[in-house]
């Protein structure tokens, strides 16, 4: 099937799509979730980081202030300790410069002061610990001394003459009145910066500017140069009156910066800044985000791989199942699909596999059904046709003849109808067995359908005829089924290759024609001849023509006399119908009566015949010719409740007595729906119409039954009469029939008597009436009248 096979690659593509869909689903789920998480985390982190930075800066500012204060206190304390040292005071008072310097150095070392300056009361440098480089210079930071004078001590931040930024403390040197000022200083760069950095991790910078100005110079910084410069730039124009925060961008990154003006009455205003690198604070958050990102990517990857694996787990078995279904489609049922496991797909696979087995088994059966007849296990029509075709091809090559032998059981329908289909089937099986037993293995025996068998023989028609005879003989042996011994007969038609036809279909049709011919003519066996084909074709438009035949008065009656063997008188005549076709000439009854029976048209024909017989009888009686005319009626007529009325009407119409009409029925005809048939027969008999049982002896009815049928006459079947002279058995049968019939007060008629010897036998057996060619064949009315006129009763004894 092209659409299916074409859709298979597409199917595989869809399975790949399942993997894609699962992966897309997982990604579609995870990516937004992870994305949102990352966004939220980033947002929260940023906010937290900024809050942490501002918090850190505020804390840093407190730490810074405390450090500043602590350093100041430490400086002041150190300065005070120094200023009260007796030796120092003595040295200063004594203007012992050397001693003074050494004491300064000693005390400076004690607390790690970076700068110690001794200032005279007139505010000039007396001594310093920087190699006395600045001796005699004015001490510029008068405000510190003023403050120390007022408060006993003072501290502040200043840039000393060496250009360095110091935290400075100044106290008086007393003896015990102030005799000098001692200034102690910590180098901001060395001390405060490091402390701030170690305690807060913040960058600290100091800017200086003239009072009231808003341009700042960098005094000191722990930050990278770029950042300090950036801060300096941003502070330009900022008078830094109050503490505030800024964000400073530099190539090093973003810094959050807290600007703190330092209190003081110094020579310059000093602003300290604390700066926190935003990147540094964000770094752990960034790491967290990176971890999240990596985790997310890993989750995504694992989910994707997992999705693919799951999808594969689903699609691989589905591929396998698809493969299996494709193989099944292609007719290969052999390979099972192997899917292990306990999941739904495995279960589906197992079910499909069982289905495959079932299909395989059924296909096998179908194949058998397709080529074998189930009932008889013989080849069927299909196989037979196939073999015939092959055999013909072979025969053509080898220039050998072939024969087809078509066999049809004669009474099968009756058997089926009377004894049931089971019996019918058994008959067919027995027949099949016999045929098979009779023929060689190489010969094909087939059942074509119904009761029709066919034999293919690789021989000429002549030889086939012999074989056909053998078959018929074999079938004469009754078939015993249960308590019934059935006498099954058959008609055989033979057609030969190449004489009759070159192609199988025609050959079969010819055999069929031959078989019908045999059946029609009660011939037993018939070979095809060219004339048969013509008749056969003529049947085709039979029905419409039959209808026309009645309307156009194309039907004729012919008459065959019945002779009383004792008196030699003409006892009556059987009226037989003939069809005078306008184009085809005379159509024999066998060519249209069975057909009419099948179609139900027989009732019209029977009524016409009865009417015609009554009319003829009336005419003859007018001519002084008083003969009883016997008419054949069919099974269907017996089932027609209107039949007796039709007969009565015909009698009345033609004004003839009932005695002048007799009806013949076949004994098997009564079998169907006995009650209805007997009712009809009783009515007919009640009209005083004679009833004859036709073809007696072929059925299975007892004489008692015949009596029940109201019969007045028995007609012995011609098959018993044919071989009467030669066959003792037939003779015995006929004798017993005659004797029994006589006992029942029935008249016995023998029909089909063709020769004098048979006539003599019948006379001896006590048969009452004889009908047959030995006296006359069925004759048209005019000839029959002439024959009657010419008849002499003595002729019955001397014969024609």
């Amino acid at each position: 099937m092209p659409p299916h096979s074409a859709s298979l690659p597409g199917g595989k593509f869809r399975f790949a799509g399942l993997e894609r869909r699962i992966v897309l689903f997982v990604a579609g789920l995870l990516v937004p979730v992870l994305g949102s998480v990352l966004l939220v985390v980033n947002e929260v982190n940023q906010r937290n980081a900024r809050a942490a930075i501002d918090d850190g800066l505020a804390k840093g500012a407190r730490v810074f202030e405390r450090l500043l204060e602590q350093n100041n206190r430490q400086l002041i304390q150190a300065a005070q300790v120094l200023s009260l040292d007796f030796a120092f005071r003595q040295a200063v008072a004594m203007r012992d410069l050397r001693t003074t310097e050494s004491v300064l150095a000693n005390h400076g070392a004690r607390i790690g002061a970076d700068l110690i300056v001794l200032v005279s009361l007139d505010r000039r440098v007396i001594a310093d610990n920087l190699g006395s480089r600045f001796v005699a210079r004015p001490f510029r930071f008068s405000w510190l001394i003023d403050a120390a004078e007022a408060e006993g001590r003072a501290a502040g931040m200043e840039v000393f003459d060496d250009g360095q930024l110091y935290q400075l403390a100044v106290v008086p040197v007393r003896a015990p009145e102030p005799i000098a000022w001692a200034a102690f200083g910590f180098l901001v760069r060395d001390r405060l910066d490091k402390e701030v950095l170690s305690l807060t991790r913040l960058g600290v910078s100091f800017f200086g500017g003239a009072a009231g100005a808003d341009i700042w110079t960098v005094l000191d910084s722990t930050l990278p140069a770029d950042q300090v410069e950036a801060q300096q730039r941003i502070l330009r124009g900022d008078d830094a009156r109050a503490r505030h925060s800024l964000t400073v961008e530099s190539p090093q990154g973003e810094y959050r910066t807290l600007v703190m003006p330092l209190p003081g009455r110094g020579t310059i205003r000093i602003v300290a800044t604390l700066a926190q690198s935003v990147d540094e604070v964000l770094a752990p958050y960034r790491r967290l985000e990176t971890i999240l990102l990596v985790l997310g990517a890993a989750a995504l990857a694992i989910s994707a791989v997992g999705g693919v694996v799951i999808a594969r787990g689903i699609t691989r078995p589905i591929h396998a199942l698809a493969d299996m279904s494709r193989r099944i489609e292609e007719g290969d049922f052999t390979r099972p699909v192997a899917i292990e496991g306990k999941d739904e797909i495995a279960e589906l696979a197992q079910r499909l596999d069982r289905m495959r087995e079932g299909l395989a088994a059924r296909e096998d059966q179908i194949r058998r059904l397709a080529f074998r007849d189930v009932l008889t296990d013989l080849p069927n029509r299909t196989l037979f046709n196939d073999r015939l075709r092959v055999a013909m091809e072979l025969a053509e090559r080898e220039r050998k003849p072939l024969s087809v032998l078509l066999l049809d059981l004669d009474r099968f329908k009756q058997i089926n109808d009377t004894l049931g289909h089971q019996t019918g089937d058994q008959v067919l099986q027995q027949t099949a067995k016999r045929l098979a037993a009779l023929l060689r293995k190489s010969d094909t025996v087939a059942r074509l359908g119904g009761d029709e068998f066919c034999v293919l023989l690789d021989c000429s028609v002549e030889i086939a005829k012999h074989i056909g005879q053998k078959i018929l003989q074999d079938l004469e042996e009754p078939i015993v089924i249960g308590e019934h011994a059935l006498d099954v007969r058959a008609s055989i038609g033979i057609a030969g290759y190449p004489v009759d036809s070159g192609d199988p279909e025609t050959l079969m049709r010819h055999a069929d024609l031959a078989m019908y011919s045999a059946k029609r003519g009660n011939l037993g066996i018939a070979a095809y001849d060219a004339t048969l084909g013509r008749h056969r074709r003529e049947q085709l438009s039979l029905l419409s023509e039959l209808r026309r035949a009645i309307d156009n008065e194309e039907l004729r009656l012919v008459f065959q006399p019945k002779i009383d063997l004792k008196s030699g008188e003409i006892a009556g005549a059987e009226a037989l119908v003939r069809w005078q076709h306008p184009e085809r000439g005379v159509v024999p009854p066998n060519d249209f009566i069975p057909f009419a029976e099948q179609t139900g048209f027989i009732k019209s024909i029977t009524r016409w015949v009865i009417d015609a017989a009554a009319r003829q009888s009336s005419r003859w009686s007018a001519l002084g010719m008083s003969l009883q005319l016997v008419v054949n009626i069919s099974v269907q007529d017996l089932l027609d409740a209107g039949m007796p009325d039709a007969v009565l009407a015909a009698l009345e119409r033609n004004k003839v007595p009932a005695r002048s009409l007799g009806l013949e029925i076949t004994e098997s005809g009564v079998m169907q729906d006995q009650a209805a048939a007997i009712a009809v027969l009783k009515r007919l008999r009640g009209l005083d119409i004679d009833l004859a049982i036709d073809d007696f002896g072929t059925g299975h009815s007892s004489l008692a039954y015949v009596r029940q049928l109201q019969a007045t006459e028995l007609k012995i079947d011609r098959s018993f009469v044919r071989n009467l002279v030669q066959d003792d058995k037939d003779r015995a049968i006929v004798l017993s029939i005659i004797e029994l019939a006589h006992n029942l007060d029935l008249t016995v008629v023998a029909e089909g008597v063709e020769d004098r010897s048979s006539l003599e036998v019948l006379r001896k057996l006590g048969c009452d009436l004889v009908q047959g060619y030995v006296f006359a064949k069925p004759l048209p009315e005019a000839e029959f009248r002439e024959w009657v006129a010419a008849w002499r009763p003595s002729a019955a004894r001397t014969a024609a």
């Binding site: 007796f86 006993g152 007393r174 015990p176 102030p178 005799i179």
Partner: protein, 222 residues
């Protein structure tokens, strides 16, 4: 009233010294206030005769600066040049009194009670006293080249009586005096009336106090 009795004694000594001089008794009264006009105690007023002062040999008189309750008492002690001063320790702890002043540099090693020798202040000028143990202890000995001097009491006033009636250069001094002492100089001529009255309004430096160390049994600061 220890200060006034001490002043009286000084005046008495001066009188004794001048008894043999050109004589005539005169009186100099003076009052000293701070820049706000409040009477200033512990100010020293010195009157130097214009004609000069005859040099006298060291008198037999001696002066005392006690150490009581870790303070110099009196805080300000004017003495005539050449006067020996004893520094008796009345506390039950030791003191180490020193001076790096140019007028007199000395150091009394840790001692209790009264050192055997007095310190003789033989050059005029201000001698600032300190104690090496107690940083807050501060005292002043004003060594005057003139025998005519007095220290103000709480009312900021002094009276120098029995002065030879002549002209004097008079100056005032106080431990917290802002500026040089010579700037306070005034002249007073006692020749005519035999009497003069002077007043000073001194500009003072802020006092730089040194915290007193806590002592067992004492609370608070001095």
């Amino acid at each position: 009233m220890r200060a006034s009795s001490s002043a009286t004694r000084s005046i008495a000594l001066a009188c004794l010294a001048l008894l043999s001089g050109p004589a005539g008794a005169a009186q100099l009264a003076a009052s000293v206030t701070d820049q706000d006009g409040n009477p200033l105690a512990d100010a020293v007023v010195v009157a130097v005769p214009l004609q000069g002062v005859a040099l006298h040999p060291p008198s037999a008189g001696r002066e005392i600066v006690d150490q009581i309750n870790q303070e110099f008492v009196p805080r300000v002690k004017p003495v005539f040049v050449g006067t020996p001063v004893f520094f008796p320790n009345k506390d039950n702890i030791r003191h180490q009194v020193y001076s790096f002043s140019p007028a007199k540099q000395f150091e009394l090693p840790l001692y209790a009670g009264t050192p055997a020798k007095p310190v003789v202040f033989d050059r005029p000028g201000v001698v600032v006293l300190g104690c090496n143990i107690h940083d807050w202890m501060i005292g002043y000995i004003y060594v005057s080249e003139s025998p005519y001097f007095a220290k103000t009491g709480a009312d900021g006033k002094i009276v120098l009586g029995d002065l030879p009636a002549q002209a004097y250069r008079v100056r005032a001094w106080h431990p917290r005096l802002q500026g040089p002492e010579s700037a306070t100089q005034q002249t007073a001529d006692l020749v005519g009336s035999g009497r003069a009255e002077l007043s000073w309004k001194l500009v003072l430096k802020p006092e730089i106090r040194i915290r007193r160390a806590p002592v067992p049994g004492m609370r608070g600061h001095y």
